[in-house]
């Protein structure tokens, strides 16, 4: 199914579909997430039964602030790929869990919680996964620093990468 045909098929039900660089992106409201994922998985001609990736991007200063990105694929026709995006407002970073529809989302969601602080309602085990349990903060947010140290080299101090001008 070519990207344009897929976009046309999705546009029958979803209003916000667009194609760029050969990829189809479907933008939905965050409350419609589980229903959308279930529909995409169970429809016979779509059959998006494979959750390839679950991540997000932080856009501070914009509203919604965090954009979740669910990359779906189909095991039958792996050229058929789809990106589902849902935006989360800055003061309420929560969204429903996708792990009922796709069990592989469990650890992806733990990682997003760890790095960005997004809470997933209904997740069976929402704890930090990569950083130590007692870590404070969510480092991959744009307003958190990189956290390096100044490097000393032959008497001069080179500041860490996030504080250099270039």
């Amino acid at each position: 199914m070519s990207p344009d045909r897929l976009a046309g098929r999705l546009a029958e039900r979803f209003p916000d579909v667009h194609v760029a660089r050969g990829e189809v992106t479907l933008t939905i409201e965050r409350d419609a997430l589980v229903e959308t994922l279930r529909y995409l998985r169970d429809e016979a001609d779509l059959a998006f039964d494979f959750l390839s990736d679950l991540s997000c991007t932080d856009w501070p200063g914009r509203e919604p602030r965090i954009w979740m990105a669910y990359h779906l694929a189909s095991l039958l026709d792996h050229r058929r790929r789809l990106r589902v995006k849902a935006g989360l407002p800055a003061d309420d970073l929560r969204i429903a869990t996708a792990s009922e529809v796709h069990p592989s989302a469990g650890w992806h969601e733990r990682e997003v919680y760890d790095f960005f602080g997004v809470t997933f309602d209904g997740h069976p085990d929402l704890r930090r996964i990569e950083l130590p349990e007692e870590w404070v903060g969510h480092p991959l947010r744009k307003d958190e620093p990189l956290g390096g140290v100044a490097t000393q080299y032959k008497g001069a101090y080179v500041p860490p990468p996030d504080q250099r001008e270039l």
Binding site: D58, L75, E111, L131, P132, L140
Partner: protein, 427 residues
Amino acid sequence: MAERIPTPLGGTEVARGVQAQRLSDDLMVINMGPQHPSTHGVLRLVLTLDGETVVDCQPVVGYLHTGIEKNTEYRTWHQGATFVTRADYLSPFANELAYAISVERLLGIEAPPRAQAIRVMVSELNRIASHLVWLATSGLELGAISVMLYGFREREKILDVFEAITGLRMNHAYIRPGGLVMDLPEGAEARIRDLLRDMGSKVDEYESLLSGNPIWVERNRGVGVLTAEQCRAWAVTGPMLRAAGVAHDLRKADPVSGYELYDFEIPTREEADCYARYEIRLAEIRESLKIVEQVLDSMPGGRVMVDDPKIAWPAQLEVGPDGIGNSERYVRHIMEESMEALINHFKLVTQGVKVPAGEVYTCVESPRGELGYYVVSDGGVRPYRVRIKDPSFLHVQVIPEIVRGGLVADVVASIASVDPVMGGVDR
């Protein structure tokens, strides 16, 4: 830091179908790792045991978390290649390939055909090297210690080839957005052909050593079964999916960088156990040898870096006596001959290339499965977000499904067949 300990269950099925009687109410919670000789890196498993049977298993990861994704946001697009290459350190070329192709798709360019052919060749050599490390460490963990020495012996030959081409044995930063950082040197093709000639017989040697060995068969047959339905639900790809009978390989299903030009097969098995994965990986080594030979026979000429001076990595590098460095001729050119070349070099190396705003998701077939890169640009000289979806992350998540109900010794065999690389899991 207490892990979740499950309440006692009634009755446990041992993997070979025998209903075991609960002997007592005591369940042991045992910690395996993170410093452990058999967990394939810094993986920590909290096993709940009923005697020798595994009732539950909780993997704890994060002991190698490096912050690569955040680091790429503070470097230029070209410098990102050196960071992502160290994520999954046993398949650096796969990481670099996916990153470079993502950036090229954002830029709207394509690498020249010669660069694409060489990319395929080094990726396949990388696949062979990674499978050899898997064979060596799996053999070591299951007790076949001589396989460790043989695996690393063959790998040294491949690393010699890598060193001749890129200047480094590991973590090369050779595949960059726009093409490759330098062309094949003199004599590289002859070395690779020597390698191809020897490697086939070595794989036969491993097969004769292990495949019929009753101990190897006993420890791997029927152990660590993961059905196709479970693979689909848990998003498992790579040799584990092919061992369950699904003939799915991204090199055929969604080829990048010219993989569609070469003729190779996808080995699959039906049993979905550790032995099937072992057979598949050995077969994959053979298929990769075929691909490398086809690439050498049909190598196109021409440039290895895209022709656009605003994007192409400006330096002409070559491998000298102490590693990679700028070639003498190029240094003379920018210092003495051409002011524009010097300014161009300076701007590209310090500021980097401006990539148009957008997002792409590129997948390649790494030796472990589907490696995906979600790269977001906001139009600047630095990546806005580089998200690495590593297959080992999902495979470690599925380890409890594989080992539940089996014996403790089977945990080692199962993890070895999953082949996780903790650098990819933790990034």
